[in-house]
Structures are given as C-alpha cells and as structure tokens.
Symmetry: C2
Subunit: 441 residues, 2 copies
Amino acid sequence: MTDLADLVRTTDLAELQQWLAETGTLDIAEELARLDPSSMAVPFRLLTRDRALAVFEALDPYHQQQVLEGLRDDRYHQLVEDMDPDDRARLVGELPAKVARRVLAGLSDEERAKTAALLGYPEESAGRLMTPEYVSLRQSMSVADALAKVRRAGEDVETIYALPVTDDQRHLRGIVSLRQLVLSPPDRVVGDLMTTDVYQVHVTDDREMAARLVQDADVLALPVLDSEERLVGVITVDDAMDVIEAEETEDLALHGGSQPLGRPYLSASVPALARSRALWLLVLIIAAAMTVNVLSFFEETLEAVVTLALFIPLLIDTGGNSGAQASTVVIRAMAVGEVRFSDLPSIIWREARVGLLLGTMLAAAMFVPVTLFFDSDIAIIVSITLVVICTWATFSGSMLPLLAKRVGVDPAVVSAPLITTLVDASGLIIYFLIARAVLDI
Amino acid sequence: MTDLADLVRTTDLAELQQWLAETGTLDIAEELARLDPSSMAVPFRLLTRDRALAVFEALDPYHQQQVLEGLRDDRYHQLVEDMDPDDRARLVGELPAKVARRVLAGLSDEERAKTAALLGYPEESAGRLMTPEYVSLRQSMSVADALAKVRRAGEDVETIYALPVTDDQRHLRGIVSLRQLVLSPPDRVVGDLMTTDVYQVHVTDDREMAARLVQDADVLALPVLDSEERLVGVITVDDAMDVIEAEETEDLALHGGSQPLGRPYLSASVPALARSRALWLLVLIIAAAMTVNVLSFFEETLEAVVTLALFIPLLIDTGGNSGAQASTVVIRAMAVGEVRFSDLPSIIWREARVGLLLGTMLAAAMFVPVTLFFDSDIAIIVSITLVVICTWATFSGSMLPLLAKRVGVDPAVVSAPLITTLVDASGLIIYFLIARAVLDI
C-alpha cells in the first residue's frame, strides 16, 4: 500500500487525488491517523464533502481535532455542521474550552442547540452517548402512515431501523422495527406490531451499562428517557460498540497498572506515557517497601540460612501469578455481568479450593528438585509455602475486585501489579514463619 | 427481584408463570443461567414458542446445551429448528459429537443443510460466524422491485437492513441499505443508490478480524465471499459484538496467565478452573527457577551483604510492574489495530525513554529513604538498579508482544506474569553486578 506520508511530502496532488479515489474510507482514516498533525489536513482538503465527512467520522476525537486545526474556517464549520449531534458532542467534550467555543460558534442555531443539550448531561452518561434525533410513531398509526412519517422525517436522523412508539406525553409505549413495517400489510396498526418488552435507559445512567445492554439485548437502538420518563433520544449500536471498545481499553490500562491514556497509543508523547504510569509505579513501590521491612524483620533468619533468600523471587512470583490469574478472571466475569457481589461467598470458596489444588501441584513439582539441589528441609519449607501462598493469593485475588466494586472503586484497578505487590509482603511473612518452624530457629 | 431458584424449588407453577410473564427476556436468561443444570428446563417449558426462542438465543451455548438436555424431544427439536443457522452452528460446534448428531438429526433437511454448510468452515472463521440467509438485489432493479423482493424473501432472513447487490455470478457489486430503499422514490434504480465502497471478508478470514471490521466500518451486515469471490453470507452486527466480547474475554484470561475457560465463570467447576491455570503456573515457576540459579551464583555476595536480599522483592516487583504496564498498553493498541509490526522500532525507542524517565523518578524517590534507613552504598545500588531495570523491563514489555505476533503467537499470551518472570532473572543479574561494582566485592 502506498505510504500516504510520502504522497503528502512530495505534495504530488494529482497522485494524492488518485490514491484517495482508490482507497476505502477506513483505510484513508487509518493512514491519516499515522501522519504528523501538521500535514493531516492536506489530503483532507482534497476530499468531497460527503467523503470528507465519512473519513472524519472514522477518526477518533483526538485525530478529528488535529484535522480541524488544519482546515480553513468554511471547510471546518461545514464539517462540524454535518456531523451527527452525538458524535459532535463527543468531539466538543474532548476539545479545550477555547476550541470548543470556536466549534459551537460556527454551528447553525439548530445544531448548536442539539449539541448543547447533549453536553448538558454528565460525562460517561447515556445522555452524552445518545442521539436526540429519532423518528417516533404512535400506536394508532397504520403501517402506511408510519412509513409515510419515516419518509418525511427519516432523512436527517441517525437510524430509522428501530422506531420508538410514544404517547402525547412522549412516554415510551413500545418499539417497532422498520423491518416489521416493511414486511407488514399497510393497514396493520403500529400498536399491534410493536414489541412492549422494551429495554431502556435513563439519561444519567452509565454509558457502559447502556452499551452492554445494547449488546445483550441485540437491539439496533436503545431508547433513552429523562427523569420524567419522557423519550429524549436513542443510543445506536455503532456508538455502543465504540463505547465498549473504549471502556475495555480503559479497563485494560488500569489492569496493567497505568492510567488510561484517553488517546491513541501512537499519538501519546513519551512524557504523557510516563505520566500515565508514574503514579501507579510510585504507589506500588511504596507498597513494596513493606517487603523490605518484612525481610529486615527476618534478617537474622536470613543470615543464619542465606539459602532461604534464593527462593524469595520464585515464591513471591508464584503468589503474584496465581493472584493475578484469579483477579483477571473474576474482573472479566464482573465486567460482562456474569457475577454479582452476592456471589462473593461462593466465589472465594471456589477460588480458595482452586488455589489449594494449584499450590499442592506446584509443591509436588518442586519438592524433588529442591531436595536434590539443596536439602529436604528447604524442600519442605518451599513446598508448604507454595501451598499456603497459592491458596492465599487466589483467595485474595478473587475477593478484592468484588470488594473494590462494593466500595465504588473500578474493579479493574485491582490490577495484576497491585495483587502481586499486596501478596508479596504477606507471602514473605508466611515463608519465614514456616522456615523458622521447620528449622526451629 | 424474586429468586427464580426458589420459585423452581417450590415448583409453584402458577407463581412461576406469573414471574415469567412479568420478567424481560434478558433477565429470564440471566436468572436461568444461575440455576443448577438439572432445573434449567423447568421454567423453560412454561414459555411460549416465541418467548422460549428469544430466551434461548439470549443464553450462551454452554447454558443452551443444559436447557436442551432437560427438554422433551418435540420441544427440543422445535427450538433448534427455530434458531438462526449461524447461532445453531455455534451451538452444535460446541456440543459433544453424540449430542451434536442428535440435534442435526432432528432438523428439517433444509435447516440441516444450512448448518452443515457453516460447520464446514474452520472454527473461529468468518464462515462460521455468517448467516447464509440474506436478500440480495440486482443493480437493474427499481426501488419498488427491490422492496417487493424484500417483502417476499425477508420473513426468514436474519437481517434486511443491509442488502447486498450481486450479478448473476453472485459477485458482489455493492450494498444498498433498507433505509435508502425506504427513503427513495419507487422508480429509482438500485444500481444508482448502492454504495460501491463496500467492506467484505472471505469465509476463511479470522472471525475477530471480521468482527472488528464490522465495528470500524459501522455496518449492520458485512458480506462474506467464498474463494471464487461469490457472496455466500453476511455477518450481522449482533454476532460481531458477541465475537468481540468472547475474544476480549479470551485475551484477558491469557493476559492474566490462564487458559480461556470457554464457558461462563460460575459454570466452571473447581477442577476446570485449576486446569485452566495449572499449565501456565508450571511454566512460570520453571522460568522462575532461573532466579534461584542466578541468586545461588551470587550467594557469596549475598552472604557478604545480607542487606542486599532485603531489596530483592521491591526491585523485581518494580521491574515486573513497569514491564506489565508497557506490554498491556502495546497489546491493546495491537488488538484494536492502532499499531503494526512496522512500528516496532519507534515503539521500543519510545518505551525505552519512558522506562528511563520512570526509573529515574523511582530512583530519586527511593534514594533518600534508603540512605537514611540503610546506607548510601545501598541507596546508590538500589537507585542505579531501578533506573536500569525500569528501562529494560519497559523495553522488553513493549517489544515482546510485537515479536510474539510476528512469529504467529497470540500477543495476549505475553502476559503480565510472563513479563514479570522473564524480567526477574535478568533484573537480579543487573542488581548484583551493580552491587559488586559499587561495593567492589
């Protein structure tokens, strides 16, 4: 595939034109995102209005911002005006206040009002995610009337595939799909076609919860209600998918022990990357300082039998690993809604037994080699410690995410690094107590 | 919310009936999944045919199987017959051969043929994921003809919202949306309405790649072609979302250092959970055995200065943590298609500098306390080691996932535990070499 960067550098517009004509919207967006900010607008100016919009919508807010910076005002305002209100709200929400004002200023009153309304809802809420543009029907309408209304109003709404049915107070009565309308005789009544088993969320609900509901319910659009239970918008499946991806990326970052970047990896600067990880590393190293204290407490034991030091990394690694295994699986089960807090007792009981099984297996595996290379005392100490540490680590690794959620902390912050560090200090205490007992010193 | 388990235990059918009537499909499915296998079929028999199908489709294949086991043959076959071919293929694909035969045997020839065709494609392929049922149009059709065909053929296909346009060799010419048809005058020609900038995959393509394409392209259905470039099916957005969720769950399990369960967490037995983690723990403890060798190599140094042992956990934890941070972020960026192998040089150069920054920060943070509680020599050793270990860990943590993918290994297996363990041995060597140099022993 031709390198867009080269085309832009050589500024051979004809060739660039041709490349743009031959390349799909997504690929253009992907290549654009890899250009340095200064030159992102160049190929963009050569795109037709519709194509430009399509490519722009395929970019993440971070790169959208960079494109805008390079565009002349008319092009700039046209582009923002053409966006869907929800996408525009997402973009404006991430812009610096000054730029945001410039964007809103250029909008038609109608579009500005729509965006302002969405921006009024809290960040990460369903209200921010929804589009306020939808076609709603009435129960009394015939299929023919309904289709007529869809034709009149359908041009400029984001989706017409799921059509909310409301009463005059805009209370949601049901949903009818465009499919049902198209496949039904024109004289059928909407009220008889619509499904009343409707999933819905409120503007202040969490956006991830809403997005996962779209996924679980297999709906193309999810109605969003205000505090008076009136329909104010719908969340479309494409936006739901984007939210889920963004949330997973965030959780993974947390789970890996760093703050979410909030922007594409390659576009984050070295200091930005460092900042996103510095805090956690500091917290963890301070926690790890406990291990220094524990070890200095047992220093005589160490001096007496230096060999004990040799197994410290192996034992704490194993503890950390089995803890990480348990926490990862439990956190995921929570994220996809498989387990609830009420499952806590059964989960830790299961996991404790899993840990015991695994610890016993590892102990058995290590006993003979350690006996051969060192001696049976050390082998006994290491083996018993493995059993206890694995059980303890698996137990706490499975419990902590649930407790975190209970006290309102994102379970994903119960990261593998965090578990490892927490289990280490306790693991060392276990190790040396067992050592002292066996060697009776 | 009433506990379904109680209702089933008391076997008060009237009350159970009522609960089922008042509860949404999704909630019923969720509660069903929490019953013990034996009683799952009880509430199920009370559902109407349509409701039963809806609930059944909301269950994962594992619980679908348990429901089937409890149903009488007629109900059983009716249910499987009513499923979409792709959902049925997914179910049959996960059933034991014997049960699978029973399912297929009960099907009508038509449905059996469809399922068999899908099962002919490799697991995890786009072919397995697609539905072979779609309505295709011709370029020459008028909108009126097209809508007429949709009405004729639309009843029993999974989606009619994205309509592939093909020629007589079933080659894909474009796609037209039901929305375009409904909003266009009846005399317009499909060929003029359809978009030709169409994303498509082949039956043998990886299903995750296909699913992510559905997400990135914001399409409701993705055409799937066979090796002769003929249209054989479409992948719908709901199936794409399910695949992405399943793949994320798998990656997370691997990333946490365990084999994917392939079934809901709560439904996995203790031995099954232990099995899914045993292999990795063994691999990792064997890798960790390296650390024992490294330390025994430096045993005299340790005997000379036992204090050095006190910082072993803190240093290897920090190395493991910064390595885990880097690998997690890079793996995610790869999963969502932000970075490619060709980015390797720029990534490791970025990450090495990030590691240097972070290491320097931690060194600065530790220097004074360590000097106070121990002595300046130890402080110097610990600080220098932190700088080197962080740089080294971040460097390898960012490089390994890309190398893994290059050699065809799932980057997700470059788990936090794996990085930690690998970095430990090298980290200890670094530590003791620096210690020897500073203390010159």
